[in-house]
Symmetry: C2
Subunit: 336 residues, 2 copies
């Protein structure tokens, strides 16, 4: 590999000058600069980011740990982070915890060893508070993404309560009382918030406790069994709200299996639905998250904090939009 020494020799200057030409950090005579540039060209020299990072103690890279890279919403967030980072000359190191706190912890270590300038974390479902404790006593900035907490870090996610409340009102206004909320693993902050909002909204709407149906379970199998049970009794719910794409898919499979028609037999809405939700028959009412924007904002918060560690942490909640469609009785195309 070509190093600065070779370039410097060829150009007849010191490596200091090469470095300064490269980084524009001090004035260099025009003819000297030309010689250096020519030497760089001829040797096809490429700067060594490692050595540079070590000297500057700054890597111009950030780490991102997602809990499930397979979910479309996370895939979009990853894109948002990557694009924003790339536009600032920052490289992205990506890790996937697959909802496993141990893998999450290992990923955090690996990224810190790599001296990322900062870290964006969408926490795994079972990740305890100690995972974050590490960052309190340390100067690598941390931004929490999607799954927020009470801890004093920069955070960005979506508004979960509002859309659920609006959805419940919408359903109740149409005469629904017996509504099933599928929330799955409420250790996940987003799902917990959606569940809480559901209970509150149902109370506000005056729906009796007995009609507030929920499926809460940490394991996918349990959740699936819960949905099956909820959809097979004699007193079926008249409406279903699924709190994530995976949960919506599970619910729809059971609805299909039981031969229930939407919305005639059962109304259906999902938080963060499907990539091409408009192609479903009937079209599904969906709470659409600005996932790309969540990722982009996370990257922005992080680079801001890297630039200035003294500012107060800020918590950003982006607003999803509800797209009302036929599955809850609204005609297709009557979106909010």
């Amino acid at each position: 590999m070509t190093t600065m020494v070779k370039v410097a020799k060829l150009a007849g200057v010191s490596i200091s000058t090469v470095s300064h030409v490269l980084n524009g950090t001090r004035h260099v005579n025009d003819d000297t600069r030309q010689r250096v540039l020519k030497a760089i060209e001829e040797t096809s020299y490429r700067q060594d980011a490692l050595a540079r990072a070590m000297r500057r103690s700054r890597t111009d890279s950030i780490g991102l740990i997602v809990s499930d890279g397979g979910e479309p919403a996370f895939a979009e967030m990853i894109r948002g982070v990557e694009q924003t980072a790339a536009s600032q000359g920052i490289t992205l190191l990506l890790a996937n915890s697959a909802e496993d706190p141990q893998r999450e912890a290992r990923a955090v270590q690996a990224l810190l060893e790599r001296r990322v300038d900062g870290l964006i974390l969408a926490r795994a479902a079972g990740s305890g508070p100690n995972a974050l404790a590490e960052f309190a006593n340390q100067d690598t900035p941390l931004v929490l993404m999607d799954r927020l907490s009470e801890d004093p870090f920069d955070q960005v996610g979506v508004e979960n309560r509002g859309p659920i409340m609006e959805l419940v009102e919408h359903l109740v206004a149409q005469g629904h009382q017996r509504i099933l909320l599928i929330a799955g693993d409420t250790r996940v902050a987003t799902l917990r918030e959606r569940h809480e909002a559901f209970q509150e909204a149902m109370t506000t709407a005056g729906v009796p406790e007995a009609d507030r149906l929920t499926v809460l379970a940490a394991e996918p199998e349990e959740t699936d069994a819960g949905i099956a049970a909820a959809l097979s009794g004699t007193k079926l719910p008249t409406a279903v709200i699924a709190c994530s794409t995976v949960l919506a898919a599970a619910a729809l499979r059971h609805i299909q299996k039981r031969g229930l028609r939407m919305p005639e037999d059962i109304a259906f809405a999902a938080f963060d639905g499907f990539a091409y939700a408009d192609l479903f028959e009937p079209q599904l009412t969906t709470v659409r998250q600005p996932a790309f924007q969540v990722g982009a904002t996370a990257a922005e918060l992080l680079t801001k904090r890297i630039a200035d560690k003294s500012v107060e942490p800020s918590v950003v909640r982006l607003a999803p939009t509800i797209e009302y469609r036929a599955s809850t009785g609204a005609g297709p195309g009557s979106g909010s």
Copy 2:
């Protein structure tokens, strides 16, 4: 930050010994080792991967550049690469070219500057051969993913010809002659291969030229217009094959808009369909790619080559599976 010097002082040994304890690179007396371990614990020392990488000239990191992180298939490939890399203690640097050759070129440079041990590349649509020329004269290994070429590199993708031919035979056997292939941008190797296979299969099946309909176009808008035109004439195709998720979505929208029923009015099949294709009504015949496996294999080929650069490049084609469903007349659940 704690460095080895601090640990060595506290343990009363040299930094050599600390290094050897950390890496297990030579025997260290048990009590000495204990002292070192204790000092590491007390100082909460963390190895600096940068300094280590610089000394060893090996970063234990690989780069991945995808052409469209938003497509579900790529999201899966990313997961496959990440998981395989992580299991070997290798960190993933991710970049997204967004089908832009310039961004791709910048990403390649950024990753090489970071001295990744190797690179996995799913090329952007318009990426010329010069993008690869760089790697021929250089010792950073390159693996081509998904979008393959004739160049002498390790490559992994899926078998594109077989499934398309099978699909055409299937349709022709059902009496279809006038079949529309939506292939979009055939600068993309996968789409080009699918288009070629279509033409061949139609020839083999004895379908007259006039009934072989295609939509080929570099720009999404053109493609969309092409689909609209193909579906609005007086002589409509009786079957449609879409060559990617995005193209399938565009086609389905036009089919819906025209009020065509599947499969009665028009049969429909897609290469690499939708995440939850089983939830569509009617259920869609889909060529399902082993995308995660493609990513995992790419990472494996790369680490093998990093370990031994002398072996001959290998080209791996993984086999997709065709899931026949109602949209081509097969009853749901009668998958291949």
